[in-house]
């Protein structure tokens, strides 16, 4: 990496952090649109889950099952907090780890499938998760889990680092900062992963699994690793979502969400780690903007999606490339 590239990168990261942590809250305050905190938190959380889906694309698998892990992560956190009185802050990583462990069990058999076969099975997973949540007693069936307490304070040596969310005048501000912080951490981790040797091994799997295994790569283990990280992100996203809503139902994440997670990746660009973030933002607000068009909302939305995929097969992020090349 040349010093100039490094400079550009640091500037990019800095600009991103300034926008997310300073400019957006200032703009929201100026416009008196505190409702946007909730919307933007949703975008951040959905993009974390989409980031996981992106990683499964990265090893060459079409994943339409992330809704299942978002749902499972949400339930794990909700149950730990309500039934076991655990702190939300502990339940969050546990929800992610539970999803990662579950995805190892599920992934070992199904990751042998490729292409449309894998995609179909993952689609079914979302339904399986929903039906299980309906049927089980620990999830409280169709009634779901409600009145989940807001995250408590985080203290260290008697010092309060994060105050209890209930003490905020506007709870959604606290959730916004939580969501974007976790998003920034997740994508930093993902970026590091893809740019490390692990990422290159994943890329090798995508390009030629047979050759990779004849070079001694433990292909089944690497596939499961990618899938576990993906599901971890789904679980974490789902858990925070549930904390914001303070409730979870079997229909909190459905096949529709699974499909959207995948579309976010397509839209942002499969070749760019930060693609899912951009894709989620554009898709989320695009859908909302089309609300005015009433009955034509879905029609216009689908048409625009098809056009975008035809015109920009490498996603929105690819728009940025020509300018970079000329510089």
């Amino acid at each position: 990496m040349t010093p100039m590239q490094r400079g550009t990168r640091i500037a990019g990261i800095g600009a991103f952090l300034v926008v997310v942590f300073i400019a957006v809250p200032m703009a929201i305050a100026a416009a008196h649109r505190t409702d946007l905190y909730y919307t933007l938190s949703s975008v951040a959380l959905l993009s974390i889950a989409s980031g996981g889906v992106w990683l499964t694309f990265y090893i060459g698998r079409i994943n339409i099952g992330q809704g299942a892990f978002a749902l499972v992560g949400g339930y794990v956190s909700a149950i730990l907090v309500t039934a076991y009185g655990l702190s939300f802050w502990l339940s969050l990583p546990l929800a992610g780890l539970f999803c990662a462990a579950a995805s190892v069990l599920v992934g070992l058999p199904i990751l042998r499938l490729r292409g449309v076969y894998f995609a179909m099975v993952t689609l079914v997973l979302t339904e399986v998760a929903r039906l299980s949540a309906l049927a089980l007693s620990v999830t409280n069936g169709a009634k779901g889990i409600t009145s989940i307490p807001a995250p408590g304070p985080i203290g260290l040596f008697g010092l309060t680092i994060v105050p209890a969310f209930d003490t905020f005048a506007e709870r959604n501000v606290a959730f916004y900062f939580l969501s974007v912080t976790v998003m920034a951490l997740c994508f930093a981790g993902l970026w590091r992963l893809v740019n490390s040797r692990v990422g290159r091994l994943f890329a090798a799997l995508r390009q030629n699994e047979d050759l990779a295994s004849s070079m001694g790569l433990n292909v089944p283990a690497l596939r499961v690793l990618a899938y576990a990280i993906s599901s971890f992100l789904g679980g974490v996203g789902g858990a925070i979502f549930v904390a914001i809503a303070q409730s979870i139902y079997p229909s909190s994440f459905t096949v529709n969400d699974s499909v959207n997670f995948m579309l976010n990746c397509f839209l942002g660009g499969l070749g760019y780690v930060f693609g899912p973030m951009l894709g989620t933002l554009v898709l989320y607000f695009g859908w909302d903007l089309l609300f005015q068009t009433g009955q034509y909302q879905l029609l216009i939305y689908s048409g625009v999606m098809i056009l975008l995929i035809l015109l920009l097969p490498n996603g929105l992020f690819s728009l940025r490339l020509p300018s970079r090349r000329s510089s």
């Binding site: 490390s196 040797r197 290159r200 030629n208 050759l211 295994s213 004849s214 070079m215």
Partner: protein
């Protein structure tokens, strides 16, 4: 010397079709052994059986005295039995150099987590792999194109890259499936030299190849397969004179063939 690889009564049935039928042969250390035979004879299937990509219906493969049939393909590769493929033997979207670096992975000392965090061992590995990759790429005449995306390379370079990727995995025995396919005479003779040079590095080579002139030139010994059955084994001179082989290739006995 004890054989490095032993193939014993190897049989593979696909439904009613017997692709490989009771084939046995030994591979001596550091020799170049070619497996030849008409299309569909079962040569690639023998490679798949040796590299453990498919499980034999009967029989077994022994590497340095240890049975390797039934192990996972990556375990077999880690033991030093490395195979390239007849069709695509490259990572299409990567640069030549990156492909060779990736193929070094089983030599790494650092854990995956170490690579993620960039530990000292990982940085040492990365540096070693980079050096070793450059050496292998130069050795196979790919030094000038190492930063090209693999799928943009011409056929001759692709085959060389396939061999480079194989070499990176540190094989004791390298299985090359049709390494000279799609090459003109010039490229083939250069590739033949390349394969010899690989042998001189101490690697044993097992080849499947249709180019008879190249096979006769390069091989220490040849095994001939027809309809899944071994019909002959011997030096190039012996194979050239073998009646059964001539028959298998032409279906008639008295025609001169270009062996």
């Amino acid at each position: 010397m004890a054989p490095i690889l032993q193939v014993k009564d190897l049989t593979k049935r696909y439904g009613g079709l017997t692709a490989v039928n009771e084939v046995s042969f030994d591979v001596e250390p550091n020799e170049i052994l070619s497996v030849i035979g008409p299309n569909g004879a079962g040569k690639s299937t023998i490679f798949k059986l040796i590299s453990s990509f498919v499980k034999p219906t009967r029989g077994e493969v022994t590497f340095n005295g240890e049975v390797i049939s039934g192990l996972a393909p990556h375990t077999v590769a880690r033991k030093g039995v490395v195979r390239t493929f007849q069709e695509t033997t490259i990572f299409k979207g990567m640069t030549a150099r990156d492909s060779v670096i990736v193929a070094h992975h089983l030599r790494s000392h650092a854990s995956l987590f170490g690579f993620y965090l960039g530990s000292a061992a990982a940085r040492r590995d990365e540096a070693d792999f980079g050096r070793s990759s450059d050496e292998i790429l130069d050795f196979l005449g790919l030094g000038a194109v190492k930063y090209e995306i693999a799928s943009n390379l011409p056929q001759g370079h692709l085959r060389a890259l396939g061999i480079a990727i194989g070499l990176a995995a540190n094989p004791k025995i390298l299985l090359l499936d049709e390494p000279f396919a799609g090459m003109n005479a010039d490229e083939t003779s250069r590739a033949v030299e390349m394969v010899r040079a690989v042998r001189d590095r101490g690697v044993t080579l097992l080849l499947v190849e249709h180019d008879m002139a190249a096979v006769m030139k390069i091989s220490d010994r040849i095994v001939v397969i027809n309809f899944g059955v071994k019909i002959a084994e011997g030096t190039p001179a012996e194979i050239r004179a073998n009646e059964k082989v001539i028959e298998a290739y032409l279906g008639v006995e008295d025609e001169t063939i270009g062996l």
